[in-house]
């Protein structure tokens, strides 16, 4: 690879452009830099010097990369960093608080999951170019993060007043940030090719409403999960309550694409699917347990 190509690759590392857009930008940047190099060469520089000069005129790859990413996908990277580090920080504060000040033991696996969830989102911010390749997986990480923080919220709610308020607000903020990140990420994943401005607005609206369905499915599932855990501890049946969330997240891959093409129709099927997802474990449960 030539120095120019390497420089451009470094710039692209900072951008979450999907494949086609990435190709376009790569071609443009390379041809721009080659042109600049040619101009210096015809001005008397030798090839190596011309290249060096063209690159230095253009600017540091980090700076250019950041600027391009921010102009095309404003605040996306910032969101991921905020959510990721916020999740990790919550883990540290909550763990230290419970173990050292309240003397209530938290299982170590909780800390591991908390740090893992935060790290996954932070790594998405660091490796932003992969977000462009794997929009759905990024959404998956964000959705899992939201649900995990939702479960934390349910736990924090039962603490003493000041702690419940502080941790509650912190978690709600993280959850809302996550929701916005998912909506924007889904929106960016849909290629803005032949869509009109109006339809773009409709697509965004549909992503928001669809996520609300998901929030309802998650809320209902988590409520039943809490009830199971409260009354009978960890058991096989408890995990059936999580099935709707899993079904919904799997279906989200198709929803993401469907909404981009036919926003309103997809909303209807999304609603229908959400209702089915909730009904499914109920049916299973009723079949398997005769008496209550």
């Amino acid at each position: 690879m030539t120095n120019i190509e390497k420089h451009v690759e470094k710039i692209l590392e900072h951008m979450q452009s999907p494949h086609d857009e990435r190709e376009d930008i790569r071609e443009e940047l390379i041809s721009h830099l080659e042109e600049a190099k040619q101009r210096y060469m015809s001005g008397g520089f030798d090839e190596k010097q011309a290249e060096k000069q063209a690159l230095s005129d253009f600017g540091e790859s980090d700076m250019i990369g950041h600027q391009l990413q921010e102009s095309m996908y404003p605040y996306q990277r910032g969101f991921f960093h905020l959510i990721g580090i916020g999740t990790i920080l919550f883990g540290v504060i909550f763990y230290v608080n419970l173990v050292f000040f309240l003397n209530e033991p938290i299982p170590v696996w909780w800390l591991a999951v908390q740090l893992l969830s935060g790290s996954a989102v932070t790594l998405a911010a660091i490796n932003i170019s992969y977000v462009g390749k794997y929009f759905y997986i990024t959404n998956l990480l964000l959705l899992v993060n939201i649900i995990w923080n939702g479960i934390n919220f349910a736990v924090a709610w039962s603490m003493s007043t000041w702690q419940a308020i502080f941790f509650g607000i912190y978690l709600v903020t993280l959850i809302l940030l996550g929701a916005v990140a998912v909506i924007r990420n889904s929106y960016y994943s849909s290629e803005p090719t032949e869509n009109l401005q109006q339809k773009r607005g409709l697509v965004l609206f549909s992503y928001v409403v669809n996520l609300l369905f998901g929030a309802a499915v998650a809320g209902i599932s988590l409520f039943f999960l809490w009830a199971f855990l409260a009354f009978s501890g960890l058991g096989v049946y408890a995990f059936i309550t999580v099935a709707p969330i899993i079904l919904w997240i799997i279906a989200y891959k198709y929803q993401m694409g469907a909404i981009a093409k036919k926003p309103l129709v997809s909303l209807l099927t999304g609603l229908g699917f959400s209702l089915l997802a909730i009904a499914f474990p109920f049916a299973v449960f009723l079949m398997f347990s005769g008496r209550f």
Partner: protein, 340 residues
């Protein structure tokens, strides 16, 4: 920094963070298991001593302390992995019946034992095929009644495992023979007591709501009653009821109010056996449970749980007058070796 370096430093940093927190956490954690006082107590027939269990790392041993507080004396200590609780004095004060509980191969075991104070040994072990939860001596000291559950399971996938299919049995302390008193396979039975005349048994059971039952040993007739009063729980939750020595009142624990977190606050109530009217006795604003009457004084000892809503209970014992007035905490000093 290259992207690869950024990733490596971040991941390494996170791993370190996790290990540091984990390490610090396990250092800060206290001794393994729960340590502290147990829930149920009993008062010696001469009103001089209180017997209770004290947990040390999830295993409980039996101790006695003067009824006004002071130094506790170890009575009986189980093997590791087993717990002694629910102690009851015999009418002559020389024996203490209690429950030995342990878990082996995922199964729960709970059996009746008798500790002899003179020989300082657990002199009798009654092994049944079921799960024994409590014992109660007859006033003449010749019989030991006990509650035995046939199964330990959950009836519904959302309930936790509990003993069920309860019945009352009687062991003749001279011959050692056991006979069955009831044949009900009750869903739940607890707080078994014998009236001072020796001819009736009192216990609490559940049949769509909590009920007190007086069972006549002569003709097997049953009298059921439910206290009437101002309870925050609607139909009363009759927790750990106990009969007064004069047989005229029953003191039990029920929901009096909800605290600011919405947790139920249990206080002691007294029910008059004639009128069935119950009135609130205590105002601790903490979880009050397991009341025990003195035999010759108008006083009771109750157990307070300061951490009702928390994972581990924090019990302490308090003396109250029979009208709920004065409240003194029993200051108990545990022997050096057994303090947590």
């Amino acid at each position: 920094m290259t992207l690869k370096m950024k990733n490596i430093s971040f991941i390494t940093g996170m791993v370190f963070l996790f290990l540091i927190l984990w390490g610090a956490g396990s250092l800060a954690a206290g001794p393994d298991g729960f340590s502290g006082f147990g829930q149920s107590t009993d008062i010696s027939p001469d009103d001089s001593e209180l017997v209770f269990s004290y947990f040390h790392g999830d295993d409980a041993a039996l101790y006695a302390v003067p009824v006004s507080g002071g130094k506790a004396e170890l009575l009986a200590k189980p093997e590791e992995g087993k717990s002694y609780h629910n102690p009851k004095f015999s009418p002559d004060g020389e024996s203490i019946a209690f429950i030995e509980q342990w878990e082996s191969e995922e199964r729960q075991y709970s059996q009746l034992r008798i500790f002899d104070r003179n020989s300082q040994t657990v002199k009798q072990r009654i092994n049944t095929s079921g799960y024994v939860t409590e014992g109660a001596f007859s006033p003449d000291g010749k019989s030991l009644y006990f509650l035995k559950a046939d199964v330990y399971k959950n009836y519904s996938p959302i309930a936790s495992e509990r003993p069920h299919d309860f019945d009352i049995f009687r062991m003749d302390l001279e011959s050692g023979k056991t006979e069955r008193i009831t044949d009900q396979k009750a869903y739940d039975m607890s707080s078994l007591e014998v009236t001072s005349s020796g001819d009736k048994l009192m216990y609490k059971t559940y049949q769509s709501n909590d009920q007190l039952v007086f069972l006549s040993l002569k003709d097997n007739s049953k009298e059921r009653m439910v206290p009437v009063g101002d309870f925050a729980s609607g139909t009363p939750v009759i927790s750990s009821p106990t009969l007064s020595p004069d047989g005229k009142s029953i003191v039990f624990s029920d929901v009096a109010a909800k605290d600011e977190n919405g947790t139920f606050v249990y206080e002691a109530f007294r029910m008059d056996l004639e009128t069935k009217q119950a009135e609130q006795l205590t105002n601790f604003h903490e979880h009050v449970t397991s009341p025990v009457y003195f035999h010759n004084a108008d006083k009771l000892i109750v157990t307070i749980n300061k951490n009702f809503a928390g994972a581990d209970p924090e019990y302490s014992y308090w003396a109250i007058s029979a009208d709920g007035e004065r409240q003194d905490r029993l200051e108990i000093k545990m022997p050096e070796a057994d303090r947590s």
